[in-house]
């Protein structure tokens, strides 16, 4: 399948969706972010592994960093909104950089969108900042309320993460 040309309105809408989503996450508006997700959201991030070139796999088939649905994402968001989520209090300063966006028309109402994500995360005043780099494959659904995220697979580019936890969304 060939990606839609950049001039295509659907591509532009998908790209804008991802940038708006990143803005919500960086602003800590997690409830706003949940509003961009479909009720049947699947949000997965497999564990990547270093394997020989001929091995035929480079992620674990049965283990992820995330394997979420609306319930578990809602719990994660609710937790961050409590007064006891020490992992993010004081909050990290994050920047979600979204680039390399390619949009593929999948059906009348659905788009596949690939993007590259670089998360910059700074905690405290002097700690070295964390970077998490990943490719994402999203299924965006065109609904009467606008575009919504139905599926996201996050392909993280490190086997051993160098961030103290994933108290962040990618």
């Amino acid at each position: 399948m060939k990606p839609l040309p950049y001039s295509d309105e659907l591509h532009q809408a998908a790209h804008q969706f991802l940038v708006e989503e990143a803005a919500l996450l960086d602003a800590g508006d997690y409830l706003g972010w949940l509003g961009l997700l479909c009720e049947d959201i699947k949000y997965v991030m497999p564990v990547r592994v270093t394997t020989a070139r001929g091995a035929g796999f480079d992620s674990l088939p049965d283990m992820g960093h995330f394997d979420e649905d609306m319930y578990s994402l809602l719990k994660r968001v609710q937790r961050l909104l409590t007064e006891h989520a020490w992992a993010e209090d004081p909050p990290s300063r994050t920047r979600h950089f979204v680039s390399n966006v390619r949009t593929f028309a999948f059906s009348e109402t659905e788009l596949y969108v690939e993007s590259a994500l670089l998360l910059f995360r700074s905690r405290g005043d002097t700690r070295e900042a964390d970077l998490v780099c990943a490719g994402r494959t999203d299924l965006l659904r065109l609904t009467t309320e606008g575009m919504r995220l139905a599926r996201r697979e996050i392909k993280v580019d490190e086997s051993v993460l160098r961030t103290q936890n994933l108290a962040a969304f990618l």
């Binding site: 991030m45 564990v47 592994v49 270093t50 394997t51 020989a52 091995a55 674990l60 049965d62 283990m63 992820g64 960093h65 995330f66 394997d67 979420e68 319930y71 578990s72 719990k75 994660r76 609710q78 937790r79 409590t82 007064e83 006891h84 989520a85 020490w86 992992a87 993010e88 700690r127 086997s159 051993v160 993460l161 160098r162 961030t163 103290q164 936890n165 994933l166 108290a167």
Partner: protein, 447 residues
């Protein structure tokens, strides 16, 4: 220079010199006197089920290929070529009948034996110059397993593993032998944290005191009932052999079946557990009314068992995690966190248990997130000169005369010593083993 006898004396009376949580000299001693001799976990047999399956794991800086050879024997081979020292395996997992060194192509069978040397006749004059027979990648000096958990020791003459595990086996079975099929490990998730490795090990060994506060948020959101203060303070802490752990108090008066239903096990698994565990083991649940929670096997292998609510309908599902605190330096640790589940469980149960694990522990777990934040902060604080003047009070549960505030529990079903309520008995138990290693001068390492 560190005053080691002074440090160990302070540790012995439960006043812990803060610097031990971020100190290069202490870390060097740990490397030379502890990791050089203790049994260290590397992998589980279920990770390498078929001949040729391997994973690459470390003991500090030493990389081992943990491989099942063609005959089914599990081996731990030092991953350094006998020729000029290149790593013969640079993947972290896979399947191979042979490992070929990328540098000059010496080739090893998956049992470690040297099988091929290019230009053997021309370069070495054949066996006369270099006899290939009896050449093998260096095996770990000692290797043994319990319930499929593969341990190695860099000491060629350690105590027998089963003997060393001793009474801790009773507790280990709750995590790794719920049925004759045994446990199956998935993962690990791996990530690096700027924390000293001892902090996580001590925490899982016995810190039920942190749970109500550190993990308050998971109660706030209705994910878990168990961190609540009253549940934890009625829990029992136990020390047995080289391990120790925490338990949660179960609702009063329940039968074995009811108690395991309460934590979310389906009936068919409960029936199997009843048939698999000894009467004494079942007694921990039924007679004493406790369910195992976190535990640490000295030095750096921990376990956790918990039972969150995994969906909007209120389904409770239990999960087990096995985790290792792999030291990188005095202020950095690689966490390896596996999801563990009874290999004989239904796919439905495995799926639910896996979701429960991901929500609670591991790189994204809602419990783990807050733990790590604390441990990184402790490590940061321990780096400076003020920390060298500070003794951390780890005396919880002791009177000024070193007597337990409350006597040990009488009639506790498990072996070892158990106390009900909060206390830092287990952390001191862990630290006393640590002290024993650091205090022992190892002739072989001639420091």
């Amino acid at each position: 220079m560190i005053d080691l006898p002074g440090v160990l004396a302070d540790v012995g009376r439960g006043m812990i010199p803060a610097r031990i949580y971020n100190d290069a000299e202490i870390f060097a001693l740990e490397r030379d006197r502890l990791f050089s001799s203790a049994w260290i976990f590397l992998a589980h047999e279920s990770e390498i089920p078929s001949p040729g399956d391997y994973v690459v794991r470390r003991v500090l800086a030493d990389s081992f290929i943990v491989v099942r050879d063609e005959n089914g024997t599990v081996r731990a081979l030092f991953n350094m070529c006998l020729h000029k020292g290149m790593a013969v395996c640079r993947a972290e997992m896979g399947n191979a009948s042979h490992f070929r060194c990328p540098y000059h192509a010496w080739t090893y069978r998956n049992d470690g034996r040297l099988a091929g040397v290019p230009f053997h006749a021309e370069a070495y004059g054949g066996d006369d110059g270099f006899a290939r027979e009896d050449q093998s990648l260096l095996p770990a000096p000692a290797i043994d397993t319990y319930n499929g958990l593969i341990f190695v020791s860099l000491n060629a003459d350690p105590p027998a593993l089963r003997e060393w595990l001793g009474d801790f086996c009773y507790y280990l079975d709750f995590y790794t032998r719920q049925s004759p099929a045994g446990v199956q490990l998935r993962g690990p998730q791996r990530w690096r944290i700027k924390a000293n490795w001892k902090i996580g090990a001590e925490n899982f060994a016995g810190d039920s005191y942190h749970t109500p506060h550190t993990h308050a948020s998971v109660v706030d959101i209705g994910l878990s009932r168990e961190p609540k203060a009253n549940k934890r303070k009625e829990g029992a802490l136990y020390m047995a052999g080289p391990g120790s752990g925490t338990t949660c108090k179960l609702p009063p008066g329940g039968s074995f079946l009811e108690q395991l239903r309460y934590v979310g096990y389906p009936d068919e698994m409960i029936v199997t557990m009843a048939a698999t565990w000894s009467k004494d083991q079942a007694g921990l649940v039924e007679e004493s009314g406790f369910m195992v929670s976190a535990a640490t096997l000295f030095p750096n292998l921990s376990f956790v068992h918990n039972w969150p609510v995994i969906d909007a309908a209120g389904t409770v599902a239990p999960f087990i995690s096995v985790r290792q605190w792999q030291p990188v330096s005095e202020n950095e640790t690689e966490v390896l966190s596996w999801f563990a589940v009874d290999a004989g469980a239904s796919e439905h149960f495995k799926r639910q248990s896996y979701r429960a694990y991901l929500m609670c522990f591991g790189s994204s777990g809602m419990f783990e997130q807050d733990d790590v934040e604390n441990w990184v902060s402790i490590t940061e604080m321990a780096a400076g000169s003020m920390a060298r003047r500070l003794l951390l009070n780890s005396r919880m549960g002791l009177t000024s005369e070193d007597k337990p505030v409350k006597p040990p529990m009488a009639g506790f079903s498990g072996p070892g010593v158990a106390y009900q309520g909060f206390g830092e008995f287990n952390q001191r138990h862990w630290l006393s083993q640590w002290s024993e290693h650091l205090g022992a001068r190892d002739e072989a390492t001639s420091l």
